[in-house]
Symmetry: D2
Subunit: 345 residues, 4 copies
């Protein structure tokens, strides 16, 4: 099968290329870049030299339609909603890595993303691309909205409990910490090397735009409208998200019972690992891999559950999950191209 | 005045020396090391070369009594409880940086520190050395128990609310993140460079030994027995603690009213800074300084307050606070030797 | 084919496993660990959980002979010289990643490694495993001495000039910088996180034990006995070696001519990339990959050539090169299992 | 005395403020910023909050003349040559931290800095502000050109040999490595966090603009025109320069004799430390301090001397040296405000 990447020079586009390069069943036949069209990829990213050196194209829907069967859009939010409808209209399968097609309710876009949605009719058509929840729908989808990095980490950490309807949602707090690559490749004061190293801080406290995405998906599982407090932080490292989630439950249970709920829920999933006690997730244990590591810990002093999840934000939180979705959409083995051992050290 | 440091070669002992070296009113007349007695400091730590090169002594209470007026004990937990009573008996003023004299209830030591206390009669004599809470008592104290790094970050973040008795304690969660220097200078697998860099993880989830210290002091302020969930994490950086604290309140209020409660509570304090909105604490903004930065943020969706605090764990979380205590005990200006601008970048 | 790894829990052993796991033609049938025999790999390194969880064996030459066709020894220097002769005697093909069989002259071991060689009769049998120099010999070898990380970086940077005999060796200086993973997994004061981060230093100045290995191999190419100054440094990062090499030449030439000498020399090599001007090697451009990037720059003010090389010390500098050697020894495609795109960011 | 800082919001301007804040003899009475005029410093750099919060002024020579006795210019290269002549003409003492007045020969500016010099008549008036070489001249100077960071590291490493005229200059190579803060506070792709961390590279190989500055000053000491190869590298850390310098000598000598030459040359200097063997400089040992650490090592195999120097590029390489110069110009103790113990860890 022939695949294309729209916006290949950013961090998620580049990570897609890295993963697809080793994939047995696809050929990368079309890559585009707004900023560097006309150059070869290795001129911009010399680590591709002598390995894969496609010419960077300006985006053209006709060219995409002619050269590919499936397209990944790795464009920024706001840009994807302009391009994706064209690709869909041209009959291509599309996996969009932006936030533009993740929310069902178009009214949430102006509220959280500060812009109106220009193609709201596509919101219903898009399948939310978390394979652990929507495997069968993804297989049949023509447009998949690839989840955000924080939502992947938080939803996978809570889905088994949400589906059991045992979460006391008003007590739930998600405290997440991410490496800087999630913020992308564009330089800024906040991401300047000497400002990030040996530094740690919270940002967008209880206001992050990924909040409604998490609430939508967990609410669907829970069968009720839910909301909770989400606070992200910026880690002095490149890759990795660790989320520490605190919640009360509305049932009496034990840590081991809860662990079994997780094991049961994910028993057929290749990329979610439930750690045996006393192991705890570390971002390095999923580095450059598509795994999501989960642990549960009961705080008996406060009758509170603490769930910790770790993912690589660029893989399971973006490009790896997109490849997993592609595998499902194109009928390949779900794990194809994604079984690398995490890079440690 | 003449001061001594017992255990000068570890990270807190060394930081004490760095701060006291620039202090106008004291002379460092006695330093000891268990491991390196007989050598000079610069042989172990060459960054002191040509600046200050004392001989490292074996500890002797007679020598301490003869050469100093006040002694800092920077020994590990368990060791201090053997040495501090001797120093006190010899009539010296003592500031102990270990956890050995922080808890009033001796029964908590076997529970949280896995050892019996060998000098429980000193627990009542020791004053908890958080100057923002116990200034007058510290001035008269002969033994000060210098607070732990996490407790400093968490107690300062909550004291104004605790004293107002408006915290709904059962909802309170403290999610703290620390650089590695808090774990000391002794090599271990977990602190090996290639294991820490580009890595982030939680540890001792809801089981950290600093928990009872926080609960004791906040409970005193609140006038009730309290408990809460505390989860520490290890950051890939050297210095800095950031704690993100979530709590419900038992009053109706606004973010600005709460900010004013903080401003009022700390109005006479030099080292606590209440950040104006929308600034948020960053560990780098207090780097190598004695400041504690605080912000408050109301989550209107969940009626929950989010307090964030940042300190340098080796300064306000250890050696700087100890110097602040010394200043009070010896009648110096409280800020003496501690007014450095944070190091950034 | 069935392969084994002796000493799988160290950084090179673990990296071997990571690479071999994705290799199409081999099965890992035997892994050993001195320290952790009896446990499963995931108990020691939880990033392998649910992926590959072999039991760690105590080393037994009989078991190795029974279960494998080829064995990698990732033991420390000094240990390998005890184990490798047993493996060879048992008829196994062996790739040794230690320094124990790299030097032809047994007298160099006491001089540079501070120990006598216990199996000098194997020094002549061992083929130096730098495929870019010894491809045909490696194909027929039963014992391959896998090059050191610094020698790989320095020899590849100089081989084309050495073979042309145009180097003025007495002017040659190699200034190399390495990430910490080259020093292994054992904790030490020097590799403690808080001692390495935000720090940079030289070590073993003009005395590093890899010096005779470089001189031996470059001398062979040059057809004369040579020596030069080699100074290594420790970088605050995990992976990567960059070597900056300065030399006079004994011919008149131009930068472009020299670049062509390199292109010609490596024209059939998959893993050596000669960068076009003005690109310069960066360690990140070869991260987690088997590539060696090279640049040449003429300093016209001083008639001096500056060659820069970059490798990942754990891949091309250790485990990746070992897999490349295995591919040659077992008749596989030389690139098999090694064509990953470098990980960036 | 009243001092001003022109361009206070960059890294060197900010570091000046940090050092001057603790200086006993001066008051900071005037600070300017092109980009942020009208705001207070703490609005831009919140780590100054509650400590020092001057209003940032637009530059006005009249205001500078009225409010200050001495001015530091921390403007970028090219900007300083416009402003400094005005300050000088107004009768102020000036310390310029840019490169604009370091080179005696105006013709070198277009060659190395790609711009003509607009005030060449000031080049002769400016004293090169390396106190270890020009103490008496600096005391009388009204305009001091503060040395570059690399030149400080390299000149201090070579001055004792240059003054003895025992260097074989044509063999000399300076391989320098710097943290990123030397490149300033302006964001760029190359200094983006995810591009710098876990990465190391050379840049401006044998073409760096600091080269003529080093050659000028060392040539003066040597009494001859000299040139050498200088290659800088970018380290994944914030502060610190380590330079490794290789040279032949034109005399027979021993390592210990050379070490004594250094001790003798710097015997009256407070900020240069000659390390006893076997200690080697580490950037962390001079962190946030004004020290320059030096070691010498003889390579007997190649009759070559290896000198290593370490400084903090923002202190001895910029702001600290500027304060040292100010102390001399204003008749204060040379060490005033600069005697902090290096920050480690």
């Amino acid at each position: 099968m022939r695949v294309g990447i729209i916006g290949v020079t950013g961090y998620t586009g580049s990570e897609l290329l890295r993963l697809l390069f080793l994939h047995k069943n696809v050929e990368i036949t079309y890559v585009t870049s707004y900023s560097f069209a006309g150059k070869t990829l290795a001129e911009i990213h010399p680590h591709y030299l002598d390995i894969i050196e496609p010419v960077l194209h300006s985006f053209s829907v006709e060219e995409a339609a002619e050269k590919t069967d499936l397209v990944f859009s790795a464009l920024p939010h706001g840009k994807s909603m302009e391009v994706v409808p064209q690709l869909c209209a041209a009959g291509l399968k599309v996996i969009d890595l932006s936030a533009d097609f993740r929310l069902l309710d178009a009214a949430l876009y102006p509220q959280w993303y500060k812009r109106e949605h220009s193609a709201p009719q596509y919101l219903e058509k898009a399948v939310y691309g978390l394979p652990e929840l929507y495997k069968e729908k993804i297989k049949k989808a023509s447009l998949v909205a690839n989840p955000g990095c924080y939502p992947t980490a938080v939803i996978l950490a809570l889905a088994p409990l949400a589906a059991r309807k045992i979460v006391d949602w008003d007590t739930l707090i998600a405290d997440a910490k991410s490496g800087t690559s999630g913020a992308g490749r564009t330089p800024s004061q906040a991401l300047h090397y000497a400002e990030c190293t040996e530094n740690f801080r919270a940002y967008r406290v209880a206001e992050h735009q990924h909040t409604p995405e998490m609430e939508q998906e967990l609410g669907r599982l829970a069968g009720q409208k839910i909301s909770f407090t989400f606070v992200p932080h910026l880690l002095p490292m490149i890759r990795g998200i660790l989320s520490t989630i605190y919640t009360g439950l509305n049932v009496e249970t034990t840590e081991e019972e809860i662990r079994n709920v997780y094991r049961e829920f994910y028993r057929n999933e290749s990329f979610v690992r439930i750690l045996p006690s006393p192991f705890l997730p570390e971002t390095r244990n999923v580095y450059a891999s598509n795994y999501c590591d989960l642990s549960v810990k009961w705080d008996p002093r406060k009758n509170r559950l603490i769930i910790i999840s770790a993912i690589d934000n660029l893989v399971k939180g973006a490009a790896g999950q997109a490849v997993q979705n592609m595998n499902l959409m194109l009928g390949f083995k779900e794990e194809e191209g994604l079984k690398a051992i995490p890079l440690r050290p």
